[in-house]
């Protein structure tokens, strides 16, 4: 017997509070595509993707209808391409990127992730060639997303790779200068990257995964915000309970969708990612959740504490709702993809330094932040190093996705459109870290990496 109030609550969450499933992502292993001939490798990749994911979009659309819940994105993640590129040089890697893009387009999916390399300790020739190709690959494709893991709690930080990624981010911006540096919106630099992340731009199909898997990312910042506002002036214990109960309901939808997609596609269910993922739409903002907790504007004093509590309560509520939780699982704070963050940044309340502090208590990092076009590669590397250090020391995933907008200065607007949104260019501390970045080598792993 279904209760009328429960039905109305669910309908209201979908109609008014932007409840949706953010993504159904199919992870596909490409290990069996390897070949010493790049053209043969590309043909194998295309065939494998078209075979494995041919039913992904129609199946997700049928599930949307069955449960009346929007599934915003249908995506594919693949084995980090640097593992399967073999002896390919940068040109060969660009061919692979174009193959991924063509398959994504033919499959009707939104993004394909996994144009990636993991170089936290050292760099193979394949990883080197892939990183070299990233700016062109992102400029010449539409749906390919790239990520590079440059640090981990176990390995420390590969500072050569950090320096390289500063230059790569700059080059990606320059190669797509005519499109507001969109290349940088598809490039993430990670610490402790996870194998089963369904969210872009950082998704890849990790090495310990099976041949094919379904991962689901939930959403629902609007639902949490409205629940907090309805709860009124309660204390933090009561507030945590409200968030937990709401997160439970949101996650159960994700679990249901993951289970159904797995059954229909005959592909194992991997994980549900409990992240609260905002969109630029009004009423779908993580910043507005923090403001509903009592902050005047996100970014002011109290913001980090509010976010820490939110992040923890979302996990506690969500973990019981799903049989396997994984991915990033935390609140996202991408500036350009969150109406409240955009407003706070435009008002000058939310700064890069405050965002960095916030990333210490949530997932995932400095995300979708536009910085002045004349920011040097070394400064970008410095920003990356700081963020990766937070991830390394705190045993968590952190990432940097900054956009040095060519020709633009502080306060000017960068427009990406769609879910990527728009953002004001934010101020970067101008003090040089050139000598620090030029040292190269590795920052040793922290003492608490020695757990055995």
């Amino acid at each position: 017997m279904i209760n009328t109030q429960d039905i109305l609550e669910t309908i209201n969450m979908i109609r008014e509070e932007n409840l949706d499933v953010r993504t159904v992502t199919m992870g596909i292993s490409l290990y069996d595509c390897v070949s010493d001939d790049v053209d043969k490798l590309c043909a194998n990749i295309y065939d494998k993707l078209m075979t494995s994911a041919k039913d992904l979009v129609p199946t997700a659309e049928a599930i949307e209808k069955l449960y009346g819940i929007p599934i915003v994105n249908k995506r594919v993640s693949v084995t980090p391409i640097s593992y399967i590129g073999g002896k390919a040089g940068p040109d060969g890697y660009i061919k692979i990127a174009k193959t991924l893009d063509r398959a994504a387009s033919d499959l009707g999916i939104n993004f394909i992730g996994g144009y990636s390399a993991l170089v936290q300790k050292g760099m193979t020739r394949g990883a080197d060639a892939l990183i070299e190709s990233i700016p062109d690959a992102l400029a010449e494709t539409n749906m390919v997303c790239s990520s590079v893991n440059v640090g981990s709690t176990r390995a420390g930080i590969n500072m050569d790779a950090v320096a390289r990624m500063g230059r790569t981010v700059k080059a990606a911006a320059e190669k797509t200068a005519d499109r507001d540096a969109i290349g940088c919106a598809k490039l993430v630099v990670f610490a402790n990257a996870v194998d089963d992340n369904p969210f872009m731009a950082g998704a890849f199909h990790g090495t310990g995964e099976g041949d094919c898997v379904i991962n689901v990312g939930v959403s629902g910042p609007g639902v949490v915000e409205k629940a907090i506002r309805r709860a009124g002036d309660c204390d933090f214990s009561a507030l945590a309970d409200v968030i937990k109960k709401t997160a439970f309901k949101i996650t159960r939808v994700g679990q249901l969708v993951a289970y159904e997609a797995s059954k229909r596609l005959n592909v194992p269910y991997g994980i549900v990612d409990l992240s609260l993922a905002p969109t630029p739409a009004i009423g779908d903002s993580v910043a507005c959740i923090l403001e509903s907790m009592g902050l005047d504007v996100c970014g002011g004093p109290g913001t980090t504490a509010a976010l820490a509590m939110l992040n923890d309560a979302v996990k506690k509520g969500g973990v019981m709702a799903s049989s396997h939780v994984g991915g990033l699982s935390g609140a996202f704070i991408p500036v350009s993809e969150d109406a409240g963050m955009i407003a706070a940044a435009e008002g000058g309340v939310l700064t890069l330094e405050k965002l960095e502090a916030m990333t210490a208590v949530c997932s995932v990092g400095l995300d979708m932040i536009c910085i002045p076009g004349d920011t040097t590669a070394e400064t970008i590397s410095g920003i990356i190093a700081d963020e990766i250090a937070i991830g390394m020391v705190n045993n968590k995933t952190t990432a940097v996705r900054v956009i040095p907008a060519p020709g633009k200065g502080v306060g000017e607007k960068v427009e990406f459109g769609g879910l990527l949104g728009y953002a004001p260019v934010m101020r970067v501390n101008p003090v040089s870290c050139e000598k620090f970045i030029a040292r190269g080598g590795r920052i040793p792993a922290p003492i608490h990496s020695l757990k055995n």
């Binding site: 279904i2 209760n3 009328t4 429960d6 039905i7 109305l8 609550e9 669910t10 309908i11 209201n12 109609r15 008014e16 049928a62 209808k65 069955l66 449960y67 009346g68 819940i69 309901k249 159960r252 939808v253 679990q255 249901l256």
Partner: protein, 89 residues
């Protein structure tokens, strides 16, 4: 298996008749009807047994949605599992 059909909009003559007719056409057996108010709108909730559904669920849901659009109403047809998942432990 049951479907939950919700009709949201301005109350008008013939809502139950038209939704019932569509259910009958597809072989969905209405077992319960209740009315409520959602955000100052009239909300009718029908529970229908869909074990004998003649078409597939998506076609049934699409036709109900289209029926709503033609009468200025929002009609949703959702599988009961989403409500059970969200509200029962």
């Amino acid at each position: 298996m049951k479907a939950v059909i919700t009709v949201i909009g301005k109350d008008q003559v013939g809502i139950i008749a038209s939704v019932s007719a569509k259910c009958a056409e597809h072989g969905a057996n209405i077992t319960e009807i209740t009315q409520s108010v959602l955000d100052q709108y009239f909300a009718m909730i029908m529970i229908a047994d869909i074990d004998g559904l003649k078409a597939d669920f998506v076609t049934f849901a699409d036709e109900l949605e289209a029926l709503g659009k033609n009468s200025g109403l929002e009609i949703r047809c959702m599988h009961e599992d989403i409500f059970d998942a969200m509200h029962k432990i």
